[in-house]
Symmetry: C3
Subunit: 358 residues, 3 copies
């Protein structure tokens, strides 16, 4: 009843180029943590969802054992597996965060494999670390940083950052003062070894504020924190022209949705809600649709490393949207034309507008 | 299967007396924020719920376009529209917070339009600001304030306040000391211009504590904060005779429900859960019914400015109650007499007891 | 479709040995708070669930009035009532926290009444208070405390504690230093009367860390706090060999589930989710199954004082599991063999592995 157009995946990463065994595949199903002794990450909603949707795309039965699926995957080879999976996902455009570690395909390669378009999202922290590697003094670092962010804004569709939960933004949402930033830069550069991570809270806040100034949408990972804590930063950045996109709020997706309703420039992502909740994706989607205006929600997969995750998110999203909106139409709560219109907004229309993909 | 008696709407505001266009109507559908560029507040659960329930009451088809609905509204005129909508809502008693800004009808006018009864809820902050406008010294202000609160307690059924999330109550739930209060009053009056808002945290806490002393139920807006943070204030006010009613907890309605179960004098409101979640109202209501004792939940609309919001909340509540309790009865989890009894408690019985409307 | 084996109840208490009247029975249905005036704790999901599941086990109709049920209970006598109820619960093994106050049956007596096995869980705070009662100096107290915890580890299957939300663990997750602990012990012993509770935050943290060192699973009550706040303690105890089990997270069960997915040694309890949510148990269980790996969830009742609560939790769990997993199988999201395997893990398999009950 509810058809969706080809999706814009507004936040994902590339896929691995190397063949994977059972253990290395499993490691990419969950968060960074290894499984507990006596357990496997295949026994998760993500694992079950992969076994539901992916084997049929490679000619196997749904829910076949992981070992059989991995054997088939190696038989086809990583490149052919990726092509078959990605082309079955129904994704028209990938927005690719290129700042994740690991040997992952870039936007162009992902687009080629998936027969789709792709654009780059620039992750702020690695960008700042690269600038630090080639800057001599605090003064030159700060100048180069601003230039680098502005240059990145011209070649990418958005910025992303994981700094929000660990840079004191909750307590001090405002942009830090010049003197404070210069001191922080001096301290950080002095104690930093080449390649060392940007971990100074003042510099991280400064970096977020430069990005806001560059006018591109800024995607914020909220980690396992309640995005409600970002209300102060949302208030401080209102009206400055840059949109904020809250990524991966689950299980705090309702507070993310509420924040998207409270500020015109705040958007909420549907990502982790769908990739990692499997049989529950429809219920989680329905919760997000409570408080967020429908023009403020953006589909994503958040997938990384395994094309299976790009596929699972897309299939889960389509199935969830059909079930949730279909039930509301049958119940008389929504009209069918409205449901179809909202489905198209969530699938592609909102992202096309926010990231100016038109 | 589950009939509800005429409702007591335990928290609402009056409606606007002026004709509205598409844009001014839309502005009242959501929170204070304007819609993002390229979006409309009609594309929200609230907007869809208004289009579901209200057009048929004015002789139009459900889900007709907003512009056609607004044209019909102007054709009938604001007064006749209000009468038709309110009289179809099935509300017997309105408890009206008269402290909201804007040219809204008062309790008597709302009662007349809706063919119902109405009682006043006094908002504490504007009351204190009026007292400040007419008091010379800190000393006289504080004396007049206590008198004004006590006088208000005799003419109203409850107090309301939005101060809880912004007066330091989480860190310091106790009543502030006399000297501290007198100093705060002096400071605030000295820097205040006529009509200026009460924003001193010590005075706000003092005001809440005077209201607790007056013995009337005290309704607390929890804003977008987790009402779990009010556990300290609940503990400090236990046994003093005044009930606390947590307003508008969504999406924190589960923590509000839990708090209502943990303290005999704490109650939870069903308001925003119903007015602003549309097709999801039954699911949200079911969640509130997990942890709260059924004697501690109170129907409200939280509606303001648009009689459509009074209607939507009432219809959503009745439909949600029928669906949720009906399913539990069919499943054998609840008996039908229990379900009917609980429906009547939530609709009117609990509010009648708490506000002594008998 | 989904059968579950006999359950391991991984966290419960004994039952009362005394006959109960309507009021004393009611008092054990809810949290410590008495019901509000004009209300009864029978009007809760817990009360309705007891009336649904228990009367038929004593030869009465489901949902009969509380007074009739209590009369039948007295007719049979507390011992026979307990036997009938517990033996109908389908529980194979009880893990019994013996640290709760009140005249409750111990593990052996509960096992006898329920025709099941039972093991002891040692509550840390009372253990430390007993040590303090018989230790002269701070020095000897601290030495005896370590010995007592190690001795308890040999006779019990787990430790439990309610200290986590009130010992500053969120701000300072690390083990406190020796000097700090010795000073805290001196201060606490000096101001303590015999039998006085352990309420010093430094000593409470020290106690948790001794228990972690003893290698047994440590069960943490999270009170009404968000267990997400324990992420720091989880990080600090990772890899040390002791598992952490988050108890009774409702309504924060989703954050508990997420933490169980983020750390290999963190587990989440299904307890309060089931005993106190009645007709909503299936929905709450489904939410927990979103983010937690299926090998990290443990059934419990959390029941205390009333064998009715042991029964209600077990029946609610079985019914919820059948409904939730059954729907996913019918939908094609899960395979039937997977659903049966996961049901057995949640019911008994995970607890058998974690507590080495094999």
């Amino acid at each position: 009843m509810i058809d969706t157009p080809r999706l814009v995946d507004q936040y994902c990463h590339g896929v691995l180029r190397t063949e994977l065994g059972l253990g290395t595949f499993e490691a990419h199903l969950g968060p960074a943590a290894p499984p507990a002794s006596g357990t496997t990450l295949f026994d998760t909603q993500t694992g079950f969802a992969v076994r539901r949707w992916c084997p049929p795309l490679l000619g196997l039965e749904a829910h076949c054992p992981p070992a059989r699926y991995l054997a088939r995957r190696r038989e086809l080879g990583v490149a052919e597996t990726g092509r078959r999976l990605l082309r079955a996902a129904g994704i028209g455009t990938y927005l690719v965060d290129t700042g994740a570690p690991g040997d992952l395909t870039g936007p162009a390669e992902l687009a080629g494999a998936g027969a789709a378009r792709a654009h780059e999202i620039v992750r702020l922290e690695p960008l700042a670390e690269q600038v630090a590697d080639t800057s001599g003094t605090a003064e030159s670092f700060l100048g180069n940083l601003t230039e680098a962010v502005q240059a990145a804004a011209t070649r990418s569709v958005a910025f992303s950052s994981a700094a929000a939960p660990r840079c004191g933004l909750v307590a001090v949402p405002e942009t830090p003062g010049r003197v404070e930033v210069r001191r922080a830069a001096g301290r950080w550069l002095a104690r930093r070894r080449a390649g060392g991570p940007l971990d100074d809270p003042v510099l991280l806040r400064h970096l977020l504020w430069i990005a806001v100034g560059a006018g591109r949408p800024l995607q914020l990972h909220t980690g396992d924190r309640d995005p409600g804590a970002l209300a102060g930063f949302a208030a401080a950045t209102a009206g400055l022209g840059a949109d904020l996109v809250l990524l991966h709020g689950s299980p705090h997706h309702r507070t993310a949705a509420r924040l998207a309703g409270a500020f015109p420039h705040v958007y909420a992502d549907l990502g982790a809600a769908l990739t990692h909740t499997g049989a529950r994706a429809a219920d989680v989607l329905a919760e997000i649709l409570e408080l967020a205006p429908f023009g403020k929600l953006l589909y994503s997969s958040g997938a990384r490393a395994l094309p299976e995750l790009h596929v699972v998110a897309a299939h889960a999203f389509r199935a969830a949207l059909g079930r949730v909106l279909g039930a509301w139409v049958q119940d008389g709560a929504w009209s069918l034309p409205d449901a179809r219109r909202v489905a198209a907004m969530l699938a592609a229309g909102n992202a096309t507008r926010v990231y100016r993909l038109g």
